[in-house]
Assembly symmetry: C2
Homo-oligomer: 220 residues x 2
């Protein structure tokens, strides 16, 4: 199936033209985001964790220390809501009321399960690393058994999902187009600065090509 | 009081040195963020909304259409958890295990209340606008009564709050410093592109100075 069925939880009711349910749209946003926000309920109260993630197939994975209380709560069969939000621009209208933002966001519902299988764990950690910075995994020291053991990997099968997108120009009231006010869109982007080498870096180690490529491709 | 008391919900248990409870630190992060994530519980299930916000005094405000189902749920005396996350850098260690991110995040707990008073509503909307782009409010058409009426403003008094911060260099295992691997921090920033004027912009309207100042101050 290439589309999620809109449910009571995922259907975009207000401004339905901003709602999308196809996997292509939803997964593209999930693959571009770096940090997701995971909400869950503990003793009837809502909690959120901001955390890095990776999507593979129809699942979202997060990882953290085995001793992390929050991670353990999520795996206790509790429902989770995961959101990824990409801010694309400020929409500067002629009236305050029509000011808006261009954005792409995804909301996902699912339950967290612990990934127990050693090979799957390594596959996910590698996918995670490759998403954050392609080429890095093969360049650095691999995880040893103790490190693998102390890392929990959580899988959220994507049960329900939708995307919400606002794109394009200002939408002012007809009569406001006559106002002497500058209007337009100010793009917002996530960019990367110059890599800062570690003070204890061994001499003669140059910056790897994949890092330079990464920075220049992201800052285009 | 300049400090929040760490509670069961806000205390940073793992890596306690990353936890901060003073208002200066927490409010500085809240004032820098653009989008917050608000979690609440509806029929025992967790939900998240990503939304722009402003902090004034000891409250966080969000606003939206009066007809928005989610906004109405939050004001029904339900508990909410609000998170703001600023990503500052990729920490590229010599081992996969010690890869990390530099970030500043805040978690806030409180209940949403509707702002009913007309003057307070305008004060908040103005503060919201001034936070997003100083100078814009006075330059554009002000809200009329119909627009004010159809906009809900929600106040969350900050009852419990903490910040979690990771900053600084790579922290590798002692024996890994000998590896022939480049290590360091790659800064991540939110930047703004060139303002794109509306296609229907009246002739002879130039870009306002506050907009140019805003872009250049943010992209420093």
């Amino acid at each position: 199936m290439n589309k999620f069925i809109p449910t009571e939880k995922t259907k975009v009711n207000r401004l339905p033209k901003r709602g999308f349910y196809d996997k292509d749209t939803i997964y593209k946003i999930l693959d571009e985001g770096i940090i997701c926000h995971v909400a869950f309920t503990l003793k009837d109260k809502p909690f959120i964790i901001p955390i890095a993630y990776v999507r593979t197939g129809d699942s979202i994975y997060i990882h953290g220390a085995k001793s992390n209380r929050m991670m353990n709560t999520i795996t206790d069969g509790n429902d989770a809501c995961i959101t990824v939000t990409l801010l694309d621009g400020y929409v500067l209208a002629r009236s305050i009321f029509h000011h808006s933002m261009n954005y792409r966001s995804v909301v996902v519902f699912g339950k967290g399960e612990l990934v127990e299988d050693r090979e799957e764990k390594i596959t996910v950690l590698r996918a995670f690393s490759e998403k954050i910075m392609p080429g890095r995994w093969d360049d650095v020291r691999q995880p040893n058994e103790k490190e693998l053991y102390s890392t929990s990997v959580l899988r959220f099968h994507i049960e329900e999902a939708s995307a919400k997108i606002r794109t394009g120009p200002v939408a002012d009231d007809k009569e406001d187009y006559d106002l002497n006010v500058w209007a337009g869109v100010l793009p917002v982007k996530t960019t990367f600065g110059d890599p800062q080498k570690d003070e204890q870096l061994k001499k003669d180690i140059t910056m790897p090509g994949y890092l330079l490529d990464f920075v220049s491709s992201k800052n285009k």
